[in-house]
């Protein structure tokens, strides 16, 4: 700590800041002393954020590679996949007469399942919310670290363990779980229903239970930190939208993941202890099951009670990041700050009472669906407000069209495209036809897959200097952006048409049905762009890791001229974030071009007659 250079801006914090006597306790910090405690079992939120991010990137590569493999089967069913046999072994079935190797259907379903599980939980929950909540909550609210750094560390390591177990399950001789990421029983409950429902499913449940622990440890920490550790002057209404988003996300996670866990436990009981929470009237593998009385639909309720908030757990952090990054690079306050906060809260609340819109066609009483249709389509209103506010934020700006901003624009475009198709699907009458077709695949991939990734990329490019003290390469960033937005639309836009033709999702082959086999060319097109998209992401990965060590150095503390507190910390990050006093906050986070000053940071005191809030 001794060699930290004190810059001019620090004087303000040092002199007017809030003295929490941090420095006195800081000497002899045992947690920063050696490599293992500094970089591996670290309790520092900045390191943990990077751990989440890099683990997320590794999982994203694995998950994306899986999608490339099953897209090749779907797009080019006639082509031989024998060349990946060295990797996939017996899961490539070679026809002895023709020599053409195909993906085994079991493994196709395993890949689809793993792709969903990995992307939803490991990448877009842990990798996105884990990274940025950890990085930004202490930074932006002016805290030294999380409320409980130890729990924060545990949160990462439970996630890591969950990953290890899931990774191990990929190599089982019976294959990983293959019953879809939603894991509906009885398919997931009965090993005799599918080869992946044996050990693969056991490990899947173990892994995700560990994951739930990770989310809860993280979430309770984020909430406590936001509520208790805000620096002096940082009222709730002065928090940047990122913090609002992470805060609501953590609440959603805390309330919904335990319900998922309870569903998992019942499933474990059904699998191992002979209960029948979800099983009844089953005749399978030549035998009648001796247990009756359960309902498979109960599981669906429990699952989607998490599952729906989960999509907001994924998208809210992306929304927060986009709101913040967009304001910084448009050099304008985010339009309608309060409306943005209220819509985050509204979306968060509504996300708990719409879960059954995933179940219109599952056999629940059609009368019940009426309520869920109404609540679901109400969500369109706060979502629309957000979109209009983002667009208006651009209006009259002085926009830097750099990579983070491009990804913000891409995010809004994706959110519009994917959000609008939600209006179709949320209407139960239309859902009769669209349910479980490629239309749904297109909808959720665009709105919570691609959009969330765009938010994540915007955040990574924007806060990379804050994480690593260097910039990512702009040219490669732009290549990455254009390659991604073009291929993402090329992949998912045509899927709307396939869905509107009635083609169901999760089909290993379309040739069995006359009605579904018309789209050979389109499926090739999609697969080609999926492969392109995959390689474009490698540009990002290379850029990311290269820039960690060799990127352009950050020379000033606040390279983007942003207003939030993370840009008042030293270039070389230190444990405790601020070397002396904590900054005191005097204004909201969006004072861009309010007066003659181009931007005013949150810790700058108000001038005579100036208002700090909006």
């Amino acid at each position: 700590m001794a060699n930290v250079t004190i810059h001019e801006e620090d004087v303000l914090i040092r002199e007017q800041g809030y003295d929490d006597h941090f420095h006195a306790h800081h000497h002899g910090d045992k947690y920063q002393t050696n490599f293992i405690f500094h970089y591996i079992f670290s309790m520092d939120h900045k390191i943990i954020a990077r751990q989440f991010l890099i683990t997320g990137i590794i999982w994203a590569i694995i998950g994306a590679a899986m999608s490339v493999v099953f897209r090749m089967q779907l797009g080019f069913p006639e082509e031989s996949l024998t060349w990946i046999k060295p990797f996939l072994g017996k899961w490539i079935v070679v026809d002895p007469s023709t020599g053409i190797g195909k993906l085994a259907p079991e493994f196709y379903y395993a890949l689809v399942t793993m792709h969903g599980t990995i992307l939803v939980f490991f990448v877009l929950t842990a990798g996105l919310s884990g990274t940025f909540s950890n990085l930004l909550i202490p930074f932006q609210i002016g805290a030294r670290d999380m409320a409980s750094p130890f729990m924060n560390m545990l949160s990462y390591w439970f996630f890591f363990l969950a990953g290890i177990v899931m990774f191990y399950s990929l190599f089982l001789s019976t294959g990983p779980f293959s019953g879809g990421w939603v894991a509906y029983p009885p398919l997931s409950a009965l090993p005799q229903a599918s080869s992946g429902s044996g050990t693969g499913m056991t490990l899947w449940l173990v892994s995700l239970t560990l994951f739930v622990v990770s989310v809860l440890l993280g979430g309770i920490n984020y909430i406590t930190t936001v509520l208790n550790l805000r620096t002096k002057g940082m009222s709730l209404w002065r928090m940047p939208l990122t913090i609002w988003a992470f805060f609501v996300t953590a609440i959603l996670g805390l309330l919904s993941f335990p319900v998922l866990a309870s569903g998992f436990f019942m499933l474990i009981f059904d699998r191992s202890l002979g209960t029948s929470f979800f099983l009844s009237d089953i005749f399978i593998a030549g035998q009648a099951l001796d247990r009756v009385g359960g309902s498979p639909i109960l599981y669906q309720h429990l699952f989607w009670f998490l599952g729906h908030p989960e999509v907001y757990i994924i998208i809210l952090p992306a929304m927060g990041i986009v709101s913040e990054v967009m304001a910084v690079h448009a050099r304008k306050p985010i339009f309608g700050y309060r409306a943005m906060v209220y819509s985050i809260l509204a979306i968060g609340f509504l996300s708990f009472i719409v879960w059954a819109h995933h179940m219109f066609m599952s056999g629940v009483n059609p009368f019940i669906s009426n309520f869920f249709v109404v609540f679901t389509l109400i969500i369109a209103v706060p979502s629309a407000v957000k979109v209009f506010n983002w667009i208006t934020t651009l209006y009259g700006g002085n926009i830097r069209l750099n990579t983070p901003m491009l990804f913000c624009i891409g995010f809004v475009s994706m959110f519009i495209s994917g959000g609008l198709t939600g209006i179709f699907l949320g209407n139960s009458a239309i859902d009769i036809q669209m349910h479980d077709t490629y239309f749904v695949v297109a909808h959720f991939h665009i709105v919570m897959g691609v959009a969330a990734f765009f938010g994540m990329f915007a955040g990574i490019y924007h806060w990379f200097p804050r994480m690593y003290g260097r910039f990512m390469n702009e040219t490669l960033g732009k290549v990455h952006f254009w390659g991604t937005i073009i291929s993402a639309y090329a992949i998912f836009w045509p899927m709307h048409y396939i869905g509107m033709a009635g083609v169901p999702r999760r089909y290993f082959s379309f040739d069995t049905f006359d009605a579904f086999k018309h789209f050979t060319e389109m499926n090739k097109f999609i697969t080609v762009f999926a492969i392109i998209a995959f390689f474009i992401q490698l540009v990002f990965v290379i850029n990311f890791f290269y820039s960690i060590w060799y990127g352009r150095k950050m020379k000033t503390k606040n390279p983007w001229n942003a207003t939030t507190l993370e840009w008042t910390t030293p270039i070389e990050p230190i444990h405790g974030n601020w070397p002396g006093n904590l900054p005191v906050v005097h204004r909201w986070a969006y004072d861009y071009n309010k007066d003659e000053r181009e931007f005013v940071q949150q810790h700058i005191p108000l001038k005579e007659g100036e208002v700090g809030d909006h």
Binding site: F283, I297, S362, V381, A384, N427, A501
Partner: protein, 504 residues
């Protein structure tokens, strides 16, 4: 080796990517970072606008290009009554969302271009505007209300509560890994009960409960038989599953509903076009006027081979993608004829086996009718015989007595009623009722028993109103066996009641 090359290529590409990165940063340093940023901002702004134009045009063009393949547009209009309503709600939603999609995209990309960074300009300070925010809260709310109202009205119409008075055909679809079994009610119009515990993979795959009256005439379509449904009739599909979740999905009919083990679901719809009518509809479109099999240009055209299909739409395991059944819509008359020609599953597979709860306990109308036909053909065979080879002794195959007694078994009475009817039909016929036994016991008591049994039959016929003067009875004891008395089967054949035609 191939892998080595592949890795080498990937490595080289990575190096190229890194070098591009380095070069651009170097170039930026030489040209001055600000200048580079300015020109990059301009390029990106133009690129965004170009992207928007290409994207929007691409969306509209591709939608138009593919419209004939999508359900609801072009030839693939709904094949069910409620489907038209769904398609129209889809289009109303598409109309509103389409406007929003195009406008917001134009604004988004245009603003990004128009307000791109230029030196010397300042961004405006525009933090909020209550009026503007009210507008874009209220307008979407109104549009959403309209869409929700439309959707819910349709939704609740599609799931009506049927009462006894509604005329509908109820059929049952049962999904299992990886096919469908379809059950039709027989003449009684009602499906019988079933229970998964009764499932027998050999001859009761659905677990139908045969003790339920409604079961015995049910028709089961297994395998790959076409599922017939009548046009313009209300069809209620009872949807069940045997092992895991499935989904009964008829894309052309806009029908979809999960099949849940332990929880029967249903979907009610009215087919409005026969398969043939739908084919005619497709015929007008060039993409359907091509040979169905490209290898065989002279074969039937694509429209001629069109079939409605049933698919599974809920992941159910490795064969999920292959649960196809062909559905055929025919006119009500054709349907009724077809259904009447189907053999009940019970009659062909269960009747008189060990699984049959009615074995030896009751007869069904169709069986009584069959027996009546058989007896009549036996008698008329003798009456019309000109060759002199027909026997005047006709066995009453279904007349039985309780063991060692002359008391007629309950089921024998149907045969005697048939006989009585035949006596009315041939008024000049005179018959002798002859009783025979096997050789178990002593001959005298056998003779006595056969006598008693013959007269018991005669008494029953008289009781039914037969003219006693046309009847006589006689017991022959064990003297006239038709089979060997050494085996139980032979003895069973020998214990019999015959009628012997005395005069025509």
């Amino acid at each position: 080796m191939t892998y080595l090359i592949a890795f080498a290529i990937i490595f080289l590409l990575s190096v190229i990517v890194i070098q591009i990165g380095k070069l651009t940063e170097l170039a930026a340093r030489i040209r001055g970072e600000e200048a580079v940023e300015r020109s990059s901002t301009n390029t990106q702004g133009l690129a965004l606008v170009a992207f928007m134009i290409v994207f929007l045009i691409g969306c509209i063009w591709s939608a138009y290009y593919y419209k004939n393949q999508m359900l609801g547009y072009g030839p693939l209009t709904s094949a069910s009554a409620h489907g038209f309503e769904l398609d129209s709600i889809f289009n109303i939603t598409l109309f509103f969302t389409g406007i929003v999609f195009v406008l917001t995209h134009i604004l988004l990309f245009w603003y990004a271009y128009k307000y791109r960074q230029t030196t010397g300009r300042k961004a405006i300070f525009f933090a909020h505007d209550t009026k503007l925010e009210m507008i874009w809260t209220v307008v979407p709310a109104i549009v959403m209300t309209y869409l929700v109202a439309n959707g819910l009205i349709a939704w609740n119409n599609i799931f009506p509560t049927l009462t006894e008075e509604d005329q509908y055909l109820e059929i049952e679809a049962t999904g299992y890994q990886f096919a469908w079994d379809i059950r039709y009610p027989g003449a009684d119009g009602k499906l019988g009960n079933k229970d998964f515990r009764l499932i027998d993979p050999a001859n009761n795959t659905l677990g139908i409960d045969w003790t339920d009256e409604h079961s015995v005439d049910d028709i089961v379509l297994g395998g790959t038989d076409k599922i017939l449904i009548p046009k313009d009739s209300l069809v209620k599909v009872r949807i069940t599953a045997k092992d895991v979740l499935h989904n009964f999905y008829l894309p052309h009919f806009r029908v979809k509903m999960d099949a849940v083990p332990g929880l029967p679901t249903s979907f009610i719809f009215t087919p409005v076009k026969t398969t043939q009518e739908f084919r005619e509809q497709l015929r007008a479109y060039p993409e359907w006027q091509v040979p169905a099999d490209p290898e065989d240009p002279t074969g039937p055209q694509k429209w001629e081979t069109f079939e409605y299909e049933l698919a599974c739409a809920e992941l159910c395991g490795k064969g999920h993608y292959s649960m196809r059944r062909v559905v055929e819509v025919v006119t009500r008359e054709e349907f009724d004829t077809w259904l009447a020609g189907q053999k009940p599953f019970y009659a062909t597979n269960i009747r008189n086996t060990d699984k049959d709860p009615y074995k030896g306990k009751r007869l069904f109308d169709y069986e009584i009718k069959t027996r009546s036909r058989e007896l009549k053909s036996d008698i008329s065979g003798f009456l019309t015989d000109t060759t002199g080879t027909a026997s005047r002794n006709i066995q009453l195959k279904h007349v039985f007595f309780e063991t060692g007694s002359d008391k007629l078994s309950d089921l024998s009475k149907h045969e005697l009623e048939n006989l009585n009817n035949l006596l009315k039909e041939y008024p000049s016929l005179k018959i002798e009722l002859a009783g025979h036994t096997d050789n178990v016991g002593d001959a005298a008591s056998n003779l006595d028993l056969s006598n008693k049994r013959a007269s018991s039959v005669m008494a029953y016929l008289i009781g039914l109103g037969a003219d006693a003067s046309r009847l006589s009875s006689r017991g022959y004891g064990q003297d006239q066996p038709v089979e060997t008395n050494e085996t139980p089967e032979g003895r069973e054949q020998n214990r019999r009641t015959e009628l012997r035609i005395i005069s025509k």
